[in-house]
Symmetry: C2
Subunit: 311 residues, 2 copies
Amino acid sequence: MSAPRDAVTVFAPASTGNIGPGFDVLGMALAGLGDTVHARRIPDRKVVIREIRGDNGKLPTDARKNTAGIAASKVLKLLKADAGVELILEKNIPGNGLGSSAASAIAGGFAANALFGSRLSKADLLLPCAAAEASVSGGYFLDNAAASLFGGVNVTNPETREVISLGGLAGAVIVVATPRYQLLTARSRKVVPKRVPLASMIANCSRACAIVAGVAKQDVGIFGRSIVDVVVEPARAPLIPGFAAVKRAALKAGALGCSISGAGSSVFAVTRDRETGGRIGDAMKKAFARARLDSVITVTTIDPDGARLIG
Amino acid sequence: MSAPRDAVTVFAPASTGNIGPGFDVLGMALAGLGDTVHARRIPDRKVVIREIRGDNGKLPTDARKNTAGIAASKVLKLLKADAGVELILEKNIPGNGLGSSAASAIAGGFAANALFGSRLSKADLLLPCAAAEASVSGGYFLDNAAASLFGGVNVTNPETREVISLGGLAGAVIVVATPRYQLLTARSRKVVPKRVPLASMIANCSRACAIVAGVAKQDVGIFGRSIVDVVVEPARAPLIPGFAAVKRAALKAGALGCSISGAGSSVFAVTRDRETGGRIGDAMKKAFARARLDSVITVTTIDPDGARLIG
């Protein structure tokens, strides 16, 4: 709890769902990429989105259709707030597969709570914000929402909705290649196999556990080389032009591991330092270009803190 | 490395493979239960088992057919030893599903190495000892061998044979109920489904990751309540008379979680203190008795150290 404020600025990071083998289970927050929300109290008991910047006009400014507005509304209801909220969204997420709608939901919900004295904890905010995202994305997935809210790497259980936060991983450099290629989550989910061979389940489960162990031991090597997904990546790879070549290029340039970020089309790779990260990014960009796709490269780290006030 | 010795005594703990949802991936060492091996150097370059105690005459004393003898042989070969080993095995493992053959292999291999100056590391010993177990049990599984060797909770990858040791979990009390009921691993493996629904894979993977996170955070609550296996336990449960009632009784008596230990027929439960553990054990014993099975109850903890010299 803290004093109510007339205006706040909040940052909620973008995120990579699945982290390779942890389909619907693992997610990690990405430093630097994300939503910045400027929120102020207004007398009317409603939520208004005054402006959205950085989305090229793609996102709805109708607060009932935008995850930031929906989450802010849900939080105001929980708080029984006697006033409303006006939001300005600044999107800084280069494309698909980076938890953009989750970051908006978390930023909107977190900002509304902060305006009214932060009476709800982060744990309280998770489900209303995830529900806001679900009402737009069509699926109730926690991996991106938990990462954006809590930061670091998280284990989520989509059935029990339990989240375990593991914190960040110092020394891990994440390279994200985002092609200019729209891949709808619905289409990307449709190709996921309904049944999985036992050996594939074991392989993915072992790697997902190793990713958790890597974070626990702060061991970037274990973390990076465990990004091997034999279940979902093979099914989704054909939906992303050039994916196989991009992954090959990343690994050849020194990445410890590489896979699809969330439902794609972004692709991420892990390494130990920014210099190698830069080389990996160049290699991925060239590989996407050979598939006739322009792409945006981001060399970043895991955001350990998640949603926070920045003003 | 250390000085060669004429005689050593080694303890290698029993273990629980899978820990519920981590089929072929997770394992934990059990304090107190296990193999004690008295080993001494003999001039002949061979391995001899002089005696086996505590097995009711069931295990082969032919060193070429006993995992302790086979592992000792493999280690002597690796060491290019100029002498042999005589072993006396003391089994203190109440029945099936507790990594008995793995504990023998680890104890035998560890003892042979210790007699010749411990020139091999634990990491060096893993694969020869696991291979010794495989030559008898018919499958190359690392979960029990890694737990017995390294102690604590381990993540294993049966394909890459990588092992990540997470150490112990202070405060976790493990209750093991071992019915007098022979369940062959081969039969128990046969019923495991070949293909798994995606939702079940996600449920098990999330729980397995949570178990790792529970150990990393030293949180017995997370660890215990994550022992939920929707893939393998339902298939194996019908092979263990009374299992459903035993599990129900354990949970009713205060267990955080309960599942089959390894391939069964032992059943394990997790709680926070020995007093509750005693009550859980009584309840499990009574439930097995109602299924007309006598059982041995062990209330113990996770062995954090694994194989070690004790004399």
